[in-house]
């Protein structure tokens, strides 16, 4: 009986004890969620980068700031972070100019508006990256917990047998090790994706910050 056991993946999972199955379920959910967020972030970061590229080229082609702002407002739903920062700065600039305060204070409020928009966009981009980070660090431990539990079980079962052979322990250990496998399967993509996204978002944020400085200079020139 023991020798003829089916060691296929599904069989091992179905044969596992309840705690191990619970751990496997948690890990599978973690994996699905982390992959969901990986895909979401892929789309989001790719969109942000594309829009930023497009906006930067059109901005430095010397087009009028007013038309640029109008163009951005027409398709607000698909605007990138840099466009939104620019739009916030432009709106604040118009509002301050209509009141005609002193240029230094005006520029300062424009900078604040830009900073706020920038922070909002960065927060949007970095949202749920912490989920990927914690999945990457915690999933192996959860899997290990399931494995340890499963091995404990299989050894406890072994103690009840008079003649102990490897074929009695092997299925239990195999099914326990699957928990670690699933944990690693959830953790590795999450870790890779987390590092990738943080790097991408960091580069985007540097680009937007430099753009903010340049826009400040531009608006300052217009105020004089």
């Amino acid at each position: 009986m023991n020798v003829t056991t089916d060691l296929s993946f599904t069989h091992l999972i179905l044969q596992a004890s309840v705690p191990v199955q619970l751990v496997m379920l948690i890990l599978v959910l973690l994996s699905v969620m982390s992959w969901y967020w990986i895909f979401r972030k892929i789309f989001q970061v790719r969109h942000a980068r594309r829009r930023t590229d497009a906006f930067e080229t059109s901005f430095w082609q010397g087009s009028d700031l007013e038309t640029l702002a109008r163009m951005t407002e027409t398709r607000l739903q698909h605007a990138g972070p840099m466009e939104l920062v620019f739009l916030a700065a432009w709106r604040e600039f118009l509002r301050q100019r209509s009141r005609s305060l002193d240029p230094a204070a005006e520029l300062e409020s424009v900078r604040r508006a830009m900073r706020a928009a920038y922070q909002r966009e960065m927060d949007e981009l970095e949202a749920h990256l912490s989920f990927l980070a914690s999945t990457a660090s915690v999933a192996p431990y959860i899997g290990l917990l399931g494995t340890v539990w499963g091995i404990m079980n299989s050894f406890r079962g072994l103690a009840n047998m008079t003649s102990a052979t490897l074929s009695h322990v092997a299925p239990g250990i195999a099914e326990a090790l699957i928990a670690t496998a699933i944990g690693l399967f959830a953790a590795i993509p999450a870790a890779v994706a987390y590092n990738h996204f943080t790097h991408d978002i960091e580069r985007l944020s540097v680009r937007i910050e430099t753009f903010m400085e340049e826009l400040t200079n531009l608006l300052q020139r217009q105020l004089r």
Partner: protein, 316 residues
Amino acid sequence: MAEPFFRSSAPSPRRSRQGKLLAMMLAVGLHLLLLSFIAFSVRWKVGEPSPLLVDLVAAPQAAHTQLAKNPDPTPGPQPAPKPEPKPEPAPPKPEPRPEPPKPLPEPKPEPKPEPPKPAPAPPPKPEPPKAEPKPSALEKPDIALKEEAKKPEPKKEPPKEEPKKEPPKPEKEPPKPEPKKPEPKKEPPLDDFAKLAEARLRQQSPNAPAQTPSTGGAPGGPSEQARATYIDQIRAKVRGNIVVPPGVQGNPEAVFIVDQLPDGTVINVRLVQSSGNPALDAALERAIRRSSPLPLPEDKRLFERTLTLKLRPLAQ
């Protein structure tokens, strides 16, 4: 003042809502794909169950086929041949010998009057005579057996050849005793013949005293069958504990030397002759150890502290 400011500065348009559904579908689809791939293409199945089942079902058939192929390897009869060959070679010894002495005494009638001398001679030479007749006895039966194996029918030929070979032996033998004891030049052949006769007598009449030291625990012929049954009992018990490892081809035999206590407790198991499969050897050794109180023989004389056990994983 404040109201338009707040309204205008909160234009947070959250786009990429459509990405949610797509991401969810992609994540779930990826997992389903991977799961199906693992479940259907990666099969970690133990491939051994089928050969094991075949072994269990077809064990008698396999035994029969083996019997048909070569009748020897049966473990049951095998213990018997072991003790038997020793008595068997003995008969050939007396057969060729009675003949050679007859031809030899004829050419040399002189030794006959001198028999009183061999009597005093043996005491001074207790060691060399034993050493001499044994090699001769060993050589002769070997030759005889070989010849018999080659030509079992012509039994008269070996005697003819043996007398030819024997004369040279006495010739060769005298030089050996000469350096040792140059005085009895004529006696050595006499001694040889006397010893041969003695050896023959020893083998013929008092079988037990002659064989017990050589064969150790095999006392006499009558208990041979009892010994076989005893060994069979041990073998049966051991066989019940054998867990045949996967990948064993056929029914190979391994020979173990088992040390046991008088109550049958196994002390030590040594592998003498491997079955060719180390895993099977280990399995057989484990089986011997597991059946530790080995069955005791009905006749206590049959008990041996060190048993030589030939084992096969399958019953015959």
